[in-house]
Symmetry: C2
Subunit: 364 residues, 2 copies
């Protein structure tokens, strides 16, 4: 099947590594995917130098787009948005807005990318707030998609419902999963189950027509109980970073133990193939590429520390999202669910399902 | 130094394992600590049978306290509190209330234990809500104490301040750490930094006289950046379970890789001492024993799945808390901090530090 080639705008200057990651990944990706062309955005001379270093002689797969500024990883959002109007990040997002590109990918500062994308592209009809979604490898050998990861704090039940719609559309586009299952992140056995917003969101989700599994807990992320887990951006951000922190600790402690003395180093050599297979299974570079959802355009955020392999996976996500109609899928779902809820006459707090106040402990 | 012996009431029937974990742990603990006596609460005949099986002939270290009911792991809080008034859990907590025991330890249902403890013991003066705190092994070889873990959702800034006071007193009592550092769990680089409650809590903490480090992020738990991390119980619960979920996934995947074929099994044999040392370093049984803080009595919650080794560590926490005056330390700190804040004339939202509303993206 021959598909019409798509264009991906790459912010070549973003991320901790910059050009050696971004341009290398685009070059390799183009060699493997004849259906994908690139707008390489940034310092044109530096990009050309990098392409020469890669031995690239074919210029049919890319177009160079100059941008004179770079958003630094620690630039405040205001600086990125107001002062650096010719940043590689901004120009790449603008290319999506102008219809020159079908998607854009950046490894730059998340806050800046979200603010610029939101300002330039605007949100889809029916979506109040864009959200950030990523996929975390799970025990079933797949990945659990979690959102929001920090674009929104103090979310309402309605926002959580919108995250569910966007997350489901993303999983369908990226992994071809029809009617993905949705879990609502909640707390379990302890005294008080869930806060008010989560309780109300459960009511909306139950009537939405989405494939709502019900409440899930923190350990369901790695268990792979559901395809999509929705939560407030504060919670999602803290959870994601906590998990990353533990993963780094485990990896560095394991490394230290195998380097402790010559005996353990010898054991490490023997166990190497096994350890490498293990690392491959938990390697989150495979799932690099968080999606900025709810915008009138596809924007993929690569991890700042991504190497060429990881950045290539972010490009892959952008390509899948374009070919599988992520935006159209989201828009259709928003409309369908609005109708379902309206038909069921469900509001955030329906009169028949009273929500009890945070329990004081009842008399015994 | 000879200390006056203390009494620990043990809910012998609680937890997934029950007597083989609880009674065994108490027996071993008493053999190592002449300063610690036990009230063994539960089915007296079953406890005696277990003591015989352990070969225990000395009865000087314990007193049997009958209780005719058991709180099941899946009992709703209401059932545990209202219907099972002669449960081993309730009787053990009551022993603390009556002054017969200095602390109680249970591996039973967390929600039930919190509800019963709160009902029977009441909260300390100046503490609005009790909280649950646990210690998570960190990269520095110590542990990070995190609270609340699920007793409270929808916390106010004032509640987070109280958690900080209680957490600091706990770390001082358990680990002898003077003026432990306190971090406020927040989100980082993304668009919006923190919700309103967290921003207000930071103001209170800055003026509290506590050793406030500032905001920390999810990965600081495992990094060991601070001694104590405070957060809403919803967030803490989800984070703890997410971390446990990842730890289980890593462990089971590693196990699977070393069992894959005879070659990897041989490698596993060679690497065994290294892997065991690694497991020892991340073994969270060492830190078993969550503290129910803010009550007029010391209550330690063991993990439900605790074996005798893990339960023994929960007993150790109870002993440390008693000998190091956790309750007095907390009460003194509450009073001191009340005075500091009053002297600084700080309220939750001081007039000079305006809190901006959740940012809409500013015009570029």
């Amino acid at each position: 099947m021959s598909l019409k080639p798509i264009q991906i705008a790459v912010d070549c200057m973003g991320g901790d590594i910059g050009l050696p990651a971004t341009v290398t990944a685009a070059y390799q990706f183009a060699q493997q995917h004849a259906d994908t062309r690139f707008l390489l955005v940034g310092d044109v001379a530096a990009i050309e130098a990098r392409l020469r270093a890669l031995g690239c002689r074919d210029s049919s797969w890319y177009r160079l787009v100059p941008a004179s500024e770079v958003v630094a990883m620690d630039d405040p959002v205001e600086v990125a948005l107001r002062r650096k109007k010719d940043s590689s990040m901004r120009v790449a997002v603008q290319a999506v807005k102008n219809g020159e590109a079908n998607a854009c990918v950046s490894a730059g500062n998340t806050g800046a990318l979200m603010a610029i994308s939101r300002y330039v592209l605007k949100t889809l009809d029916g979506i109040d707030r864009p959200a950030i979604a990523t996929s975390i490898p799970n025990q079933k050998g797949g990945a659990t998609t979690v959102l929001d990861l920090g674009a929104n704090v103090d979310c309402s039940a309605e926002h959580l419902l919108q995250f569910a719609i966007m997350g489901a559309a993303l999983v369908t586009a990226l992994y071809g999963r029809d009617r993905p299952s949705i879990g609502l992140l909640n707390i379990g056995e302890e005294v008080i189950k869930g806060n008010e917003v989560v309780k109300q969101a459960a009511v909306l989700l139950r009537h939405s027509g989405l494939n709502f599994y019900g409440n899930v807990e923190g350990d369901d992320i790695c268990k792979g109980t559901v395809d999509v887990i929705v939560c407030d951006g504060f919670v999602g951000n803290v959870v994601l970073k906590s998990i990353e922190g533990l993963a780094r600790m485990v990896s560095s402690m394991m490394h230290a133990e195998f380097k402790r003395n010559w005996l353990s180093m010898a054991a490490g050599l023997v166990a190497r193939p096994v350890l490498q297979r293990f690392r491959g299974r938990v390697d989150n570079r495979r799932y690099n590429g968080a999606a900025l959802l709810g915008l009138k355009g596809i924007v993929i955020k690569s991890h700042g520390s991504a190497d060429a392999y990881a950045f290539g996976n972010a490009l892959q996500r952008a390509r899948e999202a374009v070919y599988n109609g992520l935006l159209e899928g989201t828009a259709t779902a928003v409309e369908q669910i609005r109708r379902s809820l309206s038909a069921a006459n469900v509001q955030a707090v329906p009169p028949d399902e009273t929500v009890s106040p945070p329990s004081s402990v009842p008399g015994a």
